[in-house]
């Protein structure tokens, strides 16, 4: 449970990063969400054997981290948390896809390894930028931006509630699990059975809490309408931010900049 607990603490500290006051932090959340969406779309749209055109995209996270003053190591650690999932997804590619695509003298690299590397690079890029987005904007502002960009209100409210109560729920489950551990005296306890009923209890407790929250909302005049009371403006700097980055990403998508650079260098030094 310690790991879940520290994961939640990390989530809190990611959220606290959003209180910063850099040029990037001050931009309207919608601009940052839009740019991140364009970025992710461009990155995931590559075919699976394309690896080199992805590298120039690292400019975006690097620039964002340095302009916003985010702790690089912290973000990197967050991304490595994801590695086991990516490995699970991609690890069989080299086994099944053995066709040699690149030949370095006697040494050949199969298509499987290239697609695996491509999956890994794309995951690091997309997940990294998503973390950076939350770090420079805050989860709440991201939800509100998504809503004002046309995401149905129901989803936005769901996400906000999920985020609000994930802390309460993990604390509750952490306590329950610690109590179980302490009473199983270092052994397995009753194994999976006790976990079953624990999860059941958590569900029931969540249900009860949901009812109490609903009562609290009704007590304060809730009629089904969430009023947003946020003043934000989509000014010149936002338009510039969105246009500059989006056109840069689209340019990278259409032109293989790595190859261009490569041929430039090899052209200069034949």
């Amino acid at each position: 449970m310690a790991s879940i607990h520290s994961a939640v603490l990390d989530l809190k500290s990611l959220d606290l990063l959003a209180n910063g006051n850099s040029t990037i932090h001050r931009l309207d959340a919608r601009a940052k969400v839009l740019v991140t969406l364009v970025f992710i779309l461009c990155v995931v749209s590559y075919s699976r054997y394309e690896l080199t055109p992805l590298f120039p995209f690292f400019i975006f996270p690097v620039v964002m981290i340095s302009l916003a003053g985010l702790p690089t190591l912290f973000i990197l650690k967050k991304i490595t948390l994801l590695c086991p999932f990516v490995l699970a997804v991609g690890i069989f590619n080299p086994v099944f896809d053995r066709e040699i695509l690149i030949q370095f003298g006697h040494f050949g690299i199969s298509g499987g390894w290239i697609s695996f590397a491509s999956i890994l690079t794309r995951s690091v890029l997309t997940v990294g930028t998503a973390f950076i987005l939350v770090g420079v904007t805050g989860f709440t502002a991201v939800c509100q931006a998504l809503e004002s960009l046309g995401m149905p209100k129901v989803f936005a409210v769901q996400l906000l509630f999920l985020y609000r109560y994930i802390f309460v729920l993990t604390e509750e489950s952490g306590r329950a699990s610690r109590a179980r551990e302490l009473r199983s005296c270092g052994k397995k306890g009753q194994g999976i059975h006790s976990f079953g009923s624990m999860v059941g209890h958590l569900l029931l407790r969540t249900w009860q809490r949901a009812e109490r929250i609903h009562t609290a909302m009704l007590a304060r005049g809730f009629t089904g309408e969430f009023h947003a009371n946020r003043l934000s403006r989509f000014g010149v700097s936002e338009v510039r931010f969105v246009l500059a980055w989006s056109s840069f990403f689209i340019f990278l998508r259409l032109q293989n900049v790595s190859q261009l650079l490569g041929s430039l260098v090899t052209g200069l030094f034949p």
């Binding site: 709440t140 906000l160 309460v168 009562t215 609290a216 007590a219 005049g221 809730f222 009629t223 009371n229």
Partner: protein
Amino acid sequence: MSHHIVEVKNLRHVYPDGTAALKDVSFVITHGESVGIIGANGAGKSTLLQHLNGSLEPTSGAIHIGHTPLSKGTLPDIRRTVGMVFQDPDDQLFMPTVFDDVAFGPLNLGYTPADVEQRVTEVLELVGAGHLRDKPPYHLSGGEKKRVAIATVLSMSPDILVMDEPTNGLDPFARRQLMKLMRDFKHTRIFTSHDLDMVLELCERVIVMHEGEVWADGPALEIFGNDTLLAECRLEKPFSMQGCPICGRKTHAV
């Protein structure tokens, strides 16, 4: 006519599982009174409170708030009149930031954004939480959460303040702060609590609940002086009336 009168007549509530939590409860609380509702666990205190703003419907009996009977039609009005502070502030603070949470009620009441802004700033200052306005609720300590929870209710300018276990889980300093806040509220106040010293300090009148009934109703000092009654209802004297364990001196004369 006063908005601040609470009248409960022959209230009875039976939960769907057949437990009769309230059997026959009647009392009248008038304008400006500060009333403590005390009793053992399961005596029906929380169930009673939940009736006062219509969160639970009575099985039989009636409730009048400021001479208006509590019914489906009058519910929105009554919920503005009766401000309810829940026992667990995590149930009450559900919005992304403290500001949004305090603004939730006023926005539902249809205040203009400028009014909401002013109202929120005022009540946050009042509860000493002005510096927390942009923080998310999960970054607050227990005492801060409680004060913000009270602010969310005060922002709707209620005529009657109802609080379930307000000092529960607070450190001594936060408890003192909260008690001062409640003393300064000039309208009708109704608390349930096991913190009998708080009840003694804040309430002139005490209602003792026992097994779903009103067992006693009278001046706080009189009730806390009645040892037989307290023992019957699984209660005891507030510490300040029990005398110092070392020298035996009492704070409150009985």
